[in-house]
């Protein structure tokens, strides 16, 4: 039990700080990297402390948690945006890609979903763990996938619940017990997707030569797209910009 708590803490830490979705199955040579730039007033999107007093058990895992809708990296210049899903929207044709065998994980820790935005490939297994000493009620609100609505009582850090999802645009998943808790899942047919990290960067790797439309999605600011042409194993750079109207 102790050991599993340790692994859990490690998993949470990894997910929090260095989470990158895996995309290893594509056999192409090219990569696209870039930043998601935020142009706007960061003070309009301050993060706030979440009042978890409804369930005292939340604090057992993590003392303070903050809102995660908009997380701006103010230190970089230009400012970048975290938790943006970047993916290839067009240009792949009808090619089918093998499904990654690696499991996705989502952990409920301190009454928050870690990670807050999760991207995966259709058919990939998703394991949902509970690191809190309380009961969570995971409620999927998708259009295409099944509307899973199940509970996960106290500390299930080993078995969890494993489900497989179909491809769908980002949809919300929320907890019916802790109303502030939500996260988003984006599931793709192909393995070319990423979620921006703390620095606001992304990498899409392994595609063949060609011209692609890439799309960035953010839960508050919606979608932006850009066109990128890649060839010969060179890394193409493409930044995308969100410019919310004040």
């Amino acid at each position: 039990m102790k050991l599993s708590m340790f692994t859990l803490a490690a998993a949470v830490a990894i997910n929090t700080f260095v989470y990158t979705p895996t995309q290893c199955m594509a056999d192409g040579q090219n990569t696209i990297t870039g930043k998601i730039i935020f142009k706007g007033d960061p003070d309009a999107y301050k993060r706030t402390k979440i009042n978890t007093s409804k369930d005292p058990n939340c604090k057992k895992s993590k003392k303070t948690i903050g809102s995660e809708q908009v997380i701006i990296n103010k230190k970089s210049d230009p400012m970048t945006l975290r938790n943006v899903v970047v993916s290839i929207k067009e240009g792949l044709g009808k090619k089918a890609f093998p499904v990654s065998k690696e499991q996705l994980t989502i952990t409920q820790f301190g009454c928050q979903y870690v990670p807050h935005v999760l991207a995966g490939q259709a058919g990939q297994e998703l394991r949902i763990l509970n690191g809190d000493d309380t009961n969570h009620n995971i409620h999927f609100l998708p259009e295409v996938n099944d509307q899973y609505n199940f509970t996960q009582p106290k500390k299930d850090t080993e078995v969890g619940k494993v489900i497989t999802l179909k491809a769908e645009d980002p949809f919300k998943v929320k907890c019916d017990v802790h109303p502030w808790m939500n996260c988003f899942m984006a599931i793709f047919e192909h393995p070319f997707f990423d979620v921006t990290d703390k620095e606001g960067t992304y990498t899409l790797a392994g595609m063949d030569d060609g011209k692609y439309t890439i799309e960035a999605w953010h839960e508050e600011f919606g979608k932006v797209t850009a066109e990128v042409e890649v060839s010969g194993g060179k890394a193409a750079n493409q930044d995308l910009t969100f410019e919310p109207k004040p």
Binding site: D55, K63, P179
Partner: protein, 293 residues
């Protein structure tokens, strides 16, 4: 037949006693499940603490009814046991064919009916009228809107202007706007949202109950208040808390998977603390991501 019966009784009694004793002991070793704020009041096997003005009348009625029930049952049981012993089949005893002509049963039935009528008309109806039909004057009361949802109680205070802002179902957002308040309504500006029910002591309270999704039931055990919360309806309840302390709000109607966890806390405090709380509860603290623990 007789011997086996005696063996049966003896064995059953023995097992029964052996069972009750450890189960109670086992029960008491249960650790409390929730670590959180301590709840005030002395909870035990009888009626729970009672801290509202009209609650005593409900308690009195319950107690009177139970005395009446016990008396009826005891009288009935004594006759029953007497019959079993006196009229058991045995040599030389023969059943009588003719029915007894006693009038006792008729009188006792009339007595029961009369007492039931008294309970209903004399006690129950006035309490019901007071607690469900005669609201306290609006001006004196603290007004709270209670919005139930799976699995959370939301409390909406009108703020300084005493007016609730407009709400709309399509504005609801579980994180930013749980009540669906209309930002363009001036009355909404000073409205207060809370997940804890704070109330001033010794002042009547009117709670307007609404539900976002399914049927819930607003149960304040210590106030002797219970009212179903039905989507599409707005149902008021009122009561007057008389003792300060921290109590519980429960949902008493099955409302889904986590019905059991649909619990909120209620704080009864003096006017000054209540006012301070109203000021402070709406303040949102900024979250600095570098202070992650």
């Amino acid at each position: 037949m007789n011997r086996s019966r005696i063996i049966g009784i003896a064995a059953a009694l023995l097992v029964g006693v052996c069972l009750i004793a450890p189960s109670i002991v086992l029960g008491q070793t249960e650790a409390p499940a929730v670590s959180g704020n301590a709840i005030d009041g002395d909870y035990g096997y009888g009626l729970p603490p009672m801290v509202s003005k009209d609650g005593q009348r409900v308690d009195d009625l319950i107690i009177i009814v139970h005395w009446f029930m016990s008396a009826l049952f005891m009288g009935w049981a004594i006759f029953f046991v007497y019959c079993l012993m006196r009229f058991r089949a045995r040599a030389g005893h023969k059943a009588a064919y003719d029915p007894i002509k006693a009038k006792v049963s008729k009188y006792s039935e009339i007595g029961v009916a009369a007492f039931e009528a008294f309970l209903l008309i004399g006690l129950s109806m006035p309490i019901w009228a007071a607690t469900k039909s005669e609201p306290p004057p609006e001006t004196e009361a603290t007004h709270v809107r209670v919005v139930a949802e799976q699995f959370q109680w939301n409390f909406h205070y009108p703020g300084a202007d005493g007016k609730f802002g407009k709400t709309a179902a399509d504005l609801v957002d579980t994180v930013d706007n749980p009540l669906g308040l209309d930002p363009n309504d001036p009355a909404a500006e000073d409205d207060v949202y809370a997940t804890e029910l704070h109330l001033p002591v010794n002042k009547p309270v009117i709670c307007d109950l609404t539900s976002k999704d399914v049927i819930h039931s607003f149960s304040l055990t210590v106030m002797r208040v219970k009212q179903d919360v039905i989507p599409g309806m707005r149902i008021p309840v009122w009561f007057t808390p008389v003792k300060e302390g921290r109590y519980e709000v429960a949902c008493a109607q099955l409302c889904g998977n986590n019905h059991y966890s649909m619990r909120a806390e209620m704080v009864i405090e003096d006017d000054a603390s209540f006012a301070t709380w109203l000021e402070e509860v709406g303040i949102v603290e900024e979250f600095d991501e570098d202070e992650l623990d």
